[in-house]
Amino acid sequence: MRYQASKLLLTTFLVGALAACAPAPAAPAAPTAPPAEPTPTAAPAEPTPTAAPAEPTPTTAPAAPAMSGKIKIATQSPLSGPQAALGTGIRNGADLGLQDMGKMLTDMGFEVELAPFDDQAKPEVGAANAKNIASDPDILCIVGHLNSGVALASLPTYKDNSLAMVSPANTNPKITESGYQNAFRVVGRDDVQGAVGEEFARTEMKIKSVYIIHDKTDYGQGVAEFFRQQAEKNGIQVLGFEGTEEKSNFESILTPIQAANPDLIYFGGIYDQAGPMFRQARDRGITAQFLGPDGLDSPELLKLAGDAVKGMYYTSVAAPVSQFPDAAKFAEDYKAKFNEDAPPFSAQAYDAMGICIRAIAQAAEKAGGKPSREQVVQAIRDAGEYKGITGAYTFNAKGDPVTSTYFVLQVSDKDGEPGEVWNANAVVKKLDIPAP
């Protein structure tokens, strides 16, 4: 008896819910569509007309579910482990973005929430998280990852579930070259970054020979490979190309380097490996200059390597926050909220969050209710230029920004706290290069 009663109740409820949902988009959305002009940049003004018809009649069944419900935006980045310094920056930047721009969605009647996930910089952890993210129907967009290898492991799951990923940091070309319609990024690509580094090494640092080390990840090996291709093409002598997962004891790798006596050691990878390696190289009396990609962009490098990296150059797709005039308020807010200077990629995460929010708002507008994941992906594709705090982004058909900025930076040779010294790093060169 009780079983039957509950079944009956459940069926009635389901039917009611369906009935409530079905007419909802039709009725209130029609009048609101015209005022929601297709101009993509001006968003905050629009939510009011949609909120208005929904609010006064909260008791009537058809209108209530139209613009309500929970929307979550996930972040995935390493929050623990050796690369946590950059990963927490991404989460915090996205958090700040949601706080500043989430109003666009809350005004419409949605509840918004950040869902941070820790991928530990490990592909298998990222892929497992991706499954959890996919199974939460409230998550409509993802800001992340830090590591390209982790993103590439998670992307198939996102793709199967039509989840949009806007990456603030992934630079491996495969992210957008593999045909994932749902992958976007706000930064440049390693095939360009490797070439920028090589050109800088050849023309400004006057390098004749190089020894290349990488960390065997999609990111590190990728960028090192592009550096090598360009170097070989342009006549720099490549004395060695080695991959290693070693984190602390680099003796056996440094011995052949010392014998080869290169002008430059190029390291494709992240600061947690580069720091100890550079310091041990200097301890051994290796005088070669160092160069590396944006994975080295963290005060942690200075903490781990000490004087060995003072004055060294590195390339990046993300300059210090101080380089972006529009990001001044972000930098202040970040420091006030998280009690540290905004690390690299945090401002990009803020913009990635902005892109997600705008797309969800537009998709909701169009759907007249909580949008589907497909609609969000489509909205990012269709939205046109997004003016963020780190630049204006328009995505091409692959998901790359049409033009990206690449930087060459130099580590400051000041003394002091690593965090402060790192903020004083100077931009030596700035290049705007269209996506290949």
Binding site: G81, S248, E251, A259, P276, D283
Partner: protein, 392 residues
Amino acid sequence: MAIAADALPAPASRRTLRMTLAGVFGPLGQVFIFVVGSAIVLSVITVLVAFLLRGTRTNVDLVQATLTILPQVIVDGLVRGFLFATIALGYTMVYGVLEFINFAHGEIFMVGAFSGAALGTVLAASGMLNAIPPLLFVLIAVIVGMLVSGMLAMTIERVAYRPLRNAPRLVPLISAIGVSLLLQDGMRLIANVTGLGFNARFPTPNFGPPLQLAQIPAADGRTIPLILDVRALIFIVAATLMLIGLNYLVNATKLGTAIRAVAQDRPTASLMGINVNQIIALTFLIGGALGGAAGVLFGIRVGTVNPYIGFLPGLKAFTAAVLGGIGNIPGAMVGGIVLGFLEAFVASYLSLLTGGAFSGASYADIVAFAILILILIFRPSGLLGEAVAQKV
């Protein structure tokens, strides 16, 4: 050796003295033979391969290139080998007495390294780091590391192993792996909370420039210095002292006799009035202290520590212990050094000899585990296997 004679109940006749000397320094000879032997064998093989391959690479004189870095590779291999050896000593101690592999030993090593790093950070913050002589700092840091790791090992034994002592052998093995994970992530938490950071810097006083042992002429007319880092030298000396000390302890003291008795037959030893629990706890204390000392010396040498540094060296030290004959003290030393040599040769030469087709540094890790498998198949008792009967 007067102490040794005092410690032994037997009258200090010339015979006992001779036996003591043989027990303490005899194994050193064995280690020395294996060190020299493996260095020579590996060098000859490498040069031979370079000689055979010389025609395939036109742009480089392979034999010359191989010979140029050979002395440095041997030095690197020795340093690497001593690292594995010092960790392997702890494994072997525990295995010898309990016949159970303490997989948390790598983490005991890591905790030792972290306690040294914490000490260095405190000293650096107070500005005392550069005021005290470097060697004194090493001594203090090693003592701190030994105390922390020794106590930790004893606690682990009391909490996670002793209650399982009569359980099937697989059970304490699993609890050891659990302890190992607990220590890794526990240390990760502590490091983050205390502000040491995941990648903690190990501040050390300035040891000065590395020693230049020789100048080796290279193909292009340059000379390449043969370098031995002062910190690596300290490491080698300290590891040798640890081996001598351990040999002395096990072979020439009352405690050592008791440890050997417990290792051979636990019930009978307890009937002879030996407090078995106490002896096992002391074994863990000694093994842990050795691991802690190795951790501190490793930290001083490489300059950074993180909660996962114990994992891979731990596995390799286990390989080293098996290679030398697990449960056998000189065997651990020999196994560690042979493994260190092999890895250094592979890491430095593979890429050169194959013209970059194989990246040496990435294949070095595989060598350790390939050896483990080969040894287990062909000589399960290890290189010094015949000595296994007299455990520890």
